[in-house]
Each structure stands twice: as structure tokens, then as C-alpha cells.
């Protein structure tokens, strides 16, 4: 079920926005391969008629009333930011529009 290559790790690292140095890709690939082999055990059980469980509590319809609460001040909001300008979060240039 697995067989993870360096290229796979590089692709996943791009998706996850982690700049893994090229010389470490092999190391991660080897470890991930071992882990994936171990977790392949999830397929050992027959789950043909089993529903997936996303939440451990059997509750539904948990809502909040549409009533304003307390927000942070701009100063609080920006207090932990690495770079701030003009009451906004300053970020390096964005290459692509969403």
C-alpha cells in the first residue's frame, strides 16, 4: 500500500509549505515508508459495512446565537505579528492571486 519516494516527500512538503532540504528528503522518505508499512494494518479489518467516525461525541446542531461578542483591539490582534504596517499584518510579496 505504500512505497514513498523522495519525489513524493518533496511534493508533500510543497503542499505542506515546509522547505525540506534536498539532502534530507531521502531520510524522511525512508522513515515515512516504514511508518506507512506499519499503519497499513488499518486495512486488516473488514470495514465493508462500517460508517466512518469523525466525531467522538454523538451530538448535532450545536449553534451560537447571532449576538456580537468581544473582539480584540487592533493592538492586541497585531501584538504577536512578526511584521506590522499601517495597522495591518505585513507579509512578503504574494506571487499568485487566489
Amino acid at each position: 500500500m505504500s512505497g514513498i519516494s523522495q519525489e513524493d516527500v518533496a511534493h508533500l512538503a510543497r503542499l505542506a509549505h515546509i522547505d525540506i532540504p534536498a539532502d534530507q528528503l531521502g531520510h524522511y522518505a525512508k522513515q515515512l515508508d516504514a511508518i506507512l508499512n506499519a499503519v497499513a494494518e488499518v486495512s486488516s479489518l473488514d470495514t465493508a459495512n462500517v460508517a466512518a467516525m469523525s466525531h467522538p461525541v454523538p451530538m448535532t446542531n450545536v449553534f451560537r446565537e447571532d449576538i456580537p461578542g468581544v473582539s480584540l483591539t487592533a493592538e492586541q490582534a497585531l501584538s504577536g505579528a512578526p511584521a506590522v504596517e499601517d495597522e495591518r499584518f505585513r507579509v512578503p510579496r504574494i506571487l499568485d492571486e487566489e
Binding site: 503542499l15 451560537r64 473582539s71 480584540l72 504574494i94
Partner: protein
């Protein structure tokens, strides 16, 4: 880079267009989808944020009930099924305006699905209805706002850096997605526009959003592909974003048809990509190609529990839905005996609801329409305010019309009375009294004024007698002036002809 295009008529003669429309609407809730921050437009940057919508470590979402209720109402108004059970999902991708680097959205379990919206357009064969099939309407959250600094004025390309304001991050969004719309032929642009307009009217009627395209509370993406014939399989589609006015919806479809056709005719393939619409130049430009980097890794949002709207709740909401705007419009056209053109004038003036209110209060439909689309629209326009902001009530119009039909006010005096209402002088009767507005019904002063007018212009009596009755206008005008508008013009005319011994 400007791409080649083919003349639209030629393009449409060679290819069959398939449309798809994705509309995002920002809900007008008091608070954001998952936190208690305010949604009011235009606040100073980063003042409507909290640990939740700023994505601070540890914060958790709490779902806005009105957000869910609005989604259900929209689904019902679009003839959708409402899910008996559905979940939120995380859509994972990195972007600096998205605080958590995932968007809380819905994936394969939308709250509303399988609906339709009928839209009417003018065709060569008269008005025709197209049924736009709706695939789904789902709940999600908006992103923050980037502004780009340096480089070419505020554009993303060439900017040195960007500044992010997260006030808008987390505002509830409903995304409404059509199925592929086929069978429109050359009317694809008109159908697209009519659909977005009809959707806007429905959303406004539901009161769930202010649906202001220019402020971004209603945003539209246009998907388009061409195929050789209606029997061919679907072609590669482009996804044009940022189409933010009704006019642009029509233009963008037309442009993409022309652009796709030019490529296909030249033997090129259409690239599956995101494109950006430019309102100013009327063209779209390439954004980024869809790539394998776009693997959103959706999974059920563990921090939010499933939503299972009870059938009682859904039926309660269905029963309380306002009348579909298109149905209502057809009904009013018939009831009021209007032409489609007259109705367009009414709708475009934004006075429809006000007229309906007046009619419901007993004002004659024609009169209500006359006041709201005429004098009152002019006044609102002069003052730069919305019609709704005028302090004129159905009761005012009703009383005004009563006085007019009793002959105690004429049009001109009625306008003066309305002016009094607008500047706050009281109710109609008070204003009429205070301003001394009354049609002069005693013939004595009128005859005196006629004599005066004839004396001032001795030639006019002969002209009228010779049969040029139009000359009477100047005498009537002079009498009206002399009586400061309080005369009944028709009576003046009558008395004048009597005096001169002519008959009409």
C-alpha cells in the same frame, strides 16, 4: 497578454457553449460565521477580529445559527433539497489572507442541493424561460483582504509586499453552484446575466444579504466551455473570477466564448485555468493553471459537529419564505395592468416594495407608481439618498390622492404638500392648512384673473376666437401664476371658452 478572439456571432455559429456559474454571497448576519466579531462594513483594519477569526493557536469555531438558517432559506428559495445531515469540511491550502491556512467550508455534504431557478430573457421569438439547474448551495467563510504595496499601483504583480486586514475573514458566505447550463445557444450571456440578477433579487427578498456587487457582498465566477455540437462531450473549461457586476457577467461570457472559439478554431487547446476579469478593459487574463498543487485535502471539520436540520425547522422556514420575486413580478404586472417596460422602470427605480406598500394601503396602483417613480425618485436623487430614506408613508400618498380626486388639490399643489412632508412639516392635512394649499374653486376670483390676463394681452382673445384654441394655454398659464397655482386649470379653461363664446 491580449488573446485572439473570434467574432461572437461567428463563434456561436460554430460552437455550443456550456455555462457554469458560481456565486458567493456574504450573509448580512450580525456576527461572523464562527465567532462573535461584527460584520459591519468599513471598520478600521483589524478591529473586528478575535482569536477565532484571526486563527490564533487554540481558538475554536462556534457556529452562527442565523448563518445556517440563512443557508437553508436560500436553499429552499432555490428549490433545493435540504440535507438531513451534513458536516463542515476543511479545505486545506495556504494563502496569507486565510488565517488558519484552511477554509472551513462544506465538501461532499452541502446543506442544500439539487435545485433550480427559472429565468426569463427576451429572445428572437419573444420572452422565453430557461431553467438553470442548481447543483448545491453550501456554507463557508470569507477571507481577509490584501492590499499590495509598491510596484505598479496596488496590483499584485510587481508589488514589494502586501498588507493584510482580517476584518472580513470569517464573514459567512454561501456559495451557490449551478450544474452545467446547456441549451442556451447564443443566449448564454443573457441567461448568465438573468440568472445572477434573479438570484440577487431572491437573496434581497429573503433579506439575507445586502447583495451589493460593488462592495463584494455578491461575487460571481463564470465557468465556460465550448463544444462542437450539443451532442459532443464537454470541452475544457475556464474559470473566470472577479466578475462583479451584472453587465460584466454578460460581457465575460461573451468574451470567453469568443476567446475559446478563436483558440479551438486555430487548433489550439483551451487551458483549464483560473482567469481574472478586468472590468475596465473588458477582457480576462490568465491566472494560474490548475495543477497538482491544488490538492485541498478535504476532511470533516472535527471542531464542528454535524448539522441535522429537523424537518419541522425546514418546513417552518419554507412556510415563512417570501414570494419568489419573479412570480411576484408576474402577478403584479397582471394586477396593475402594466407593460413589461413599465415594470422594468419600476424595478430599476428600486420603488417596487414601496409601491406595493402604498397599494396595500389603498392607493391606486397607477398613482402610487407615478409618485414613487416620478417626483419622489427625483427628490431622492437630488438629495443623494435612497427612496426608503424618504419620510413618505403610504398614508401620506393615500390622503394626497383623496384630496386630488376630491378636486381640492391639483398635481402642482400635491407636489408642494409632499415637499412639506419631506422637510417635516407634519401630515398632509396640516401642511395643506399651514401652507394654504387649496384649489381655488370659487369662479369669481378666476374670472377676475382671466379678465386681467386678457387685458394684458389684447390680441389673444381674437386668436382664440379664430379657432386657435392652443393659444388658450398662455391665458391659463397667466391665471395659474396669478393664483399661485391654486386654480384648477381645467375650470379656468372652461370659464375662458365660455367667456369668449367658443367651444372645444
Amino acid at each position: 497578454m491580449v488573446e485572439a478572439t473570434m467574432n461572437y456571432d461567428e463563434a456561436i455559429s460554430k460552437f455550443d457553449p456550456v455555462l457554469g456559474l458560481e456565486v458567493h454571497v456574504e450573509l448580512g448576519t450580525n456576527t461572523k460565521m464562527f465567532c462573535g466579531c461584527s460584520t459591519v462594513f468599513g471598520a478600521p483594519p483589524n478591529t473586528q477580529v478575535c482569536p477565532v477569526c484571526l486563527g490564533l493557536p487554540g481558538a475554536l469555531p462556534a457556529l452562527n445559527k442565523i448563518g445556517v438558517e440563512s443557508a437553508i432559506r436560500i436553499g429552499l428559495a432555490l428549490n433545493c433539497e435540504i440535507a438531513e445531515w451534513c458536516r463542515f469540511a476543511r479545505k486545506n491550502y495556504f494563502y496569507p489572507d486565510m488565517p488558519k491556512n484552511f477554509q472551513t467550508s462544506q465538501y461532499d455534504e452541502p446543506i442544500a442541493f439539487e435545485g433550480y431557478l427559472d429565468v426569463e430573457i427576451d429572445t428572437d421569438e419573444g420572452r422565453k424561460t430557461f431553467r438553470v439547474p442548481i447543483e448545491r448551495a453550501h456554507m463557508e467563510e470569507d477571507t481577509g483582504k490584501n492590499s499590495h504595496v509598491g510596484g505598479a499601483t496596488g496590483r499584485i504583480h510587481g508589488a514589494d509586499y502586501s498588507l493584510v486586514d482580517y476584518n472580513r475573514a470569517g464573514i459567512p458566505l454561501i456559495e451557490i453552484v449551478t450544474k452545467p447550463i446547456t441549451g442556451t445557444g447564443k443566449y448564454a450571456p443573457e441567461v448568465a446575466k438573468a440568472y445572477v440578477a434573479a438570484l440577487r433579487d431572491i437573496l434581497r427578498g429573503l433579506g439575507v444579504s445586502d447583495v451589493k456587487m460593488e462592495q463584494g457582498s455578491l461575487r460571481c465566477d463564470v465557468n465556460l466551455s465550448l463544444r462542437e455540437t450539443p451532442e459532443s462531450k464537454l470541452g475544457t473549461r475556464s474559470e473566470t473570477k472577479n466578475v462583479n457586476s451584472l453587465r460584466s457577467v454578460e460581457r465575460a461570457v461573451r468574451y470567453e466564448v469568443s476567446r475559446h472559439a478563436a483558440r479551438l478554431a486555430a487548433g489550439d487547446t483551451v487551458v483549464q485555468e483560473t482567469r481574472h476579469w478586468h472590468e475596465d478593459t473588458g477582457i480576462s487574463t490568465s491566472g494560474r493553471a490548475k495543477s497538482d498543487a491544488e490538492d485541498y485535502r478535504y476532511f470533516p471539520e472535527p471542531d464542528l459537529l454535524p448539522i441535522a436540520p429537523s424537518r419541522e425547522w425546514v418546513e417552518e422556514l419554507r412556510a415563512a419564505l417570501p414570494e419568489n420575486p419573479a412570480v411576484r413580478r408576474a402577478r403584479l404586472v397582471a394586477d396593475w395592468g402594466l407593460s413589461e417596460i413599465d415594470m422594468n422602470t419600476v424595478v430599476n427605480s428600486g420603488a417596487l416594495d414601496l409601491i406595493v406598500e402604498a397599494v396595500d394601503a389603498g392607493v391606486d396602483p397607477a398613482a402610487a407608481r407615478k409618485w414613487w417613480t416620478g417626483e419622489l425618485s427625483r427628490i431622492a436623487n437630488d438629495r443623494g439618498i435612497e427612496l426608503e430614506e424618504l419620510p413618505v408613508t403610504p398614508a401620506h400618498l393615500k390622503r394626497l390622492e383623496e384630496l386630488i380626486s376630491a378636486g381640492s388639490l391639483n398635481d402642482k399643489l400635491a407636489r408642494q404638500a409632499l415637499e412639506g412632508v419631506i422637510v417635516g412639516e407634519g401630515d398632509i392635512d396640516e401642511i395643506v392648512k399651514a401652507r394654504g394649499l387649496a384649489v381655488v374653486s370659487d369662479d369669481g376670483p378666476l374670472l377676475a384673473a382671466i379678465d386681467e390676463a386678457l387685458a394684458a394681452d389684447p390680441a389673444v382673445a381674437e386668436t382664440i376666437k379664430s379657432g386657435k384654441l392652443a393659444a388658450a394655454g398662455s391665458v391659463v398659464g397667466a391665471v395659474m401664476k396669478a393664483t399661485r397655482g391654486q386654480a384648477d386649470a381645467a375650470r379656468v379653461r372652461e370659464l375662458l371658452f365660455e367667456k369668449l363664446g367658443v367651444s372645444e
